[in-house]
């Protein structure tokens, strides 16, 4: 049987701090196919994550950046099996 290609997700520590039990780095076993599906999978485990990362639309919030295997992504960007998805807060605040 072929091994399932897992998706590695790296989250901001400031996001993980908002949800008890959320790690900074985790793997998703059933491959989500887009960035939006990665966020949906996170929201299923930690309800409310989607509201923190996304606006209505849905779209990523203005100061939330997502990279798929190092390339900038959007809500609809495909996530091939075995990818690493980085969610990073942009430079903002004061």
């Amino acid at each position: 049987m072929a091994a399932v290609a897992m998706t590695v997700v790296v989250l901001p520590r400031s996001l993980a701090a908002l949800f008890p039990g959320m790690p900074h780095r985790l793997t998703l076993e059933r491959g989500p196919e887009t960035v939006g599906e990665v966020i949906a999978a996170l929201d299923a485990r930690w309800p409310g994550v989607r509201d923190r990362l996304c606006e209505a639309g849905p779209a990523l919030r203005p100061f939330i950046n997502v990279y798929v295997d190092g390339e900038p992504g959007t809500f609809a960007t495909p996530v091939p099996g075995g990818s690493t998805v980085h969610v990073l807060p942009a430079v903002a605040g004061g």
Partner: protein, 358 residues
């Protein structure tokens, strides 16, 4: 049951919970809470004693935070705090107020939301957004924000809200429909006759004991309404400027309220002559008296934002003023004397004084 006083301080970098000594002379401080998010307002849910904090993170957006253990632990939710796919993106919650067994939240861009489950989920009070003037609403310097929510003390169908820079609105049917109530309030920043909406209201409050009387601090003056906001009378005579942000009423005397005039909207927005004062009227704004005892009287280039003044309900009542430079000044004698209660906080957005079970 015995009660204890808490002073809730929302800042640009988190929420703080202060507990005064019995004489309200010294304060213990806990915080910052809410992960350092900008917190615009805090209050107490009287239904269950939970603390609430309204704010918005530049990264993670709008939320109402809730603590059921007086600040030790917090949760957050923004479920339902949205205008949906067709509406504008929401940025922050600016005010949260309990009323009629529910919670109401004022948000940016301006709108009103209601929660019937303690802030876990929210529903849009669409009647306000549906007001015919909505397409003309424009932001002030702080954004297009609904920052004041005033429930009628006896009639659950009635409520007032204030939006910058749009003005005062009132409902008398539980929020289904709203009426703009700004007649008599100047708009010095607009040409031509005063419009129905477009007023830059900074804060409003109900007179204690008379829910038909409101007081208003505006970008363009200080006002009183004796007819539930339908018409307003300017009260500027005797004040050092027409510009300020907060306004707080006495908890025992409907004729008494307090403001903090700043030197002017185009002159730096700090204390006139760099001397800090809280101004009090005891005759509904006919005359004014400055309260300075204990407040800095030189080099006080300080601002005070719209929600950064509060009073408690003890006897005599206490007053609390937070500055944009992170000082909290407190008076335990209704403003007659003041002391610096706390320094070096982040810029203070809001102050509320609440009583909780001991």
């Amino acid at each position: 049951m015995a009660q204890r006083l808490l002073v809730l301080v929302g800042t640009r970098k988190g929420a703080f919970v202060l507990e005064p000594s019995a004489d309200r002379a010294t304060f213990t401080t806990r915080g910052p809470f809410c992960n350092g998010w900008p917190i615009q307002h805090m209050t107490l849910d009287p239904k269950d004693g939970a603390l609430l904090a309204a704010g918005g993170s530049p990264w993670y957006g709008q939320a109402v935070w809730r603590s059921e253990d007086l600040g030790a632990t917090w949760t957050h939710s923004s479920e339902g705090l949205t205008y949906g796919e067709e509406g504008p993106a929401m940025r922050a919650v600016w005010h949260v107020t309990p009323a009629n067994g529910a919670l109401y939240a004022g948000v940016e861009p301006a709108g009103l939301f209601r929660s019937d489950d303690g802030g876990q989920t929210w529903q849009h009070v669409k009647g306000l957004t549906d007001h015919p003037s909505r397409s003309t609403w424009a932001p002030g310097n702080g954004g297009l924000i609904l920052h004041t929510i005033l429930p009628h003390p006896d009639d659950p169908q009635r409520m007032w809200v204030a939006i910058s820079a749009v003005g005062c609105f009132a409902t008398e049917d539980g929020g289904a429909t709203w009426e703009a109530r700004n007649h008599g309030v100047r708009t010095d920043f607009l040409p031509g006759p005063t419009p129905e909406t477009g007023q830059c209201v900074h804060k409003m409050a109900l007179a204690t004991g008379d829910p038909e009387r409101l007081y208003q601090q505006n970008h363009c003056g200080t006002y009183r309404s004796d007819d539930a906001g339908r018409t307003w009378t300017c009260l500027d005579e005797g004040l050092p400027s027409t510009f300020g942000f907060p306004l707080v009423t006495s908890p025992v005397d409907g004729d008494t309220f307090f403001t903090v005039p700043l030197n002017g909207d185009d002159r730096g927005r700090f204390m006139p002559d760099a001397r800090m004062a809280v101004w009090r009227t005891t005759d509904r704004g006919a005359t004014w008296h400055d309260l300075r005892n204990g407040l800095p009287q030189q080099g006080a280039y300080l601002g005070v934002l719209r929600d950064a003044m509060a009073r408690d309900t003890l006897d005599p009542f206490g007053l609390y003023v937070g500055t944009s430079a992170g000082q909290l000044f407190a008076s335990a004698d209704e403003g007659e004397s003041w002391r610096l209660a706390l320094d070096f906080l982040p810029p203070i957005s809001s102050v509320e004084a609440v009583l909780v079970d001991a």
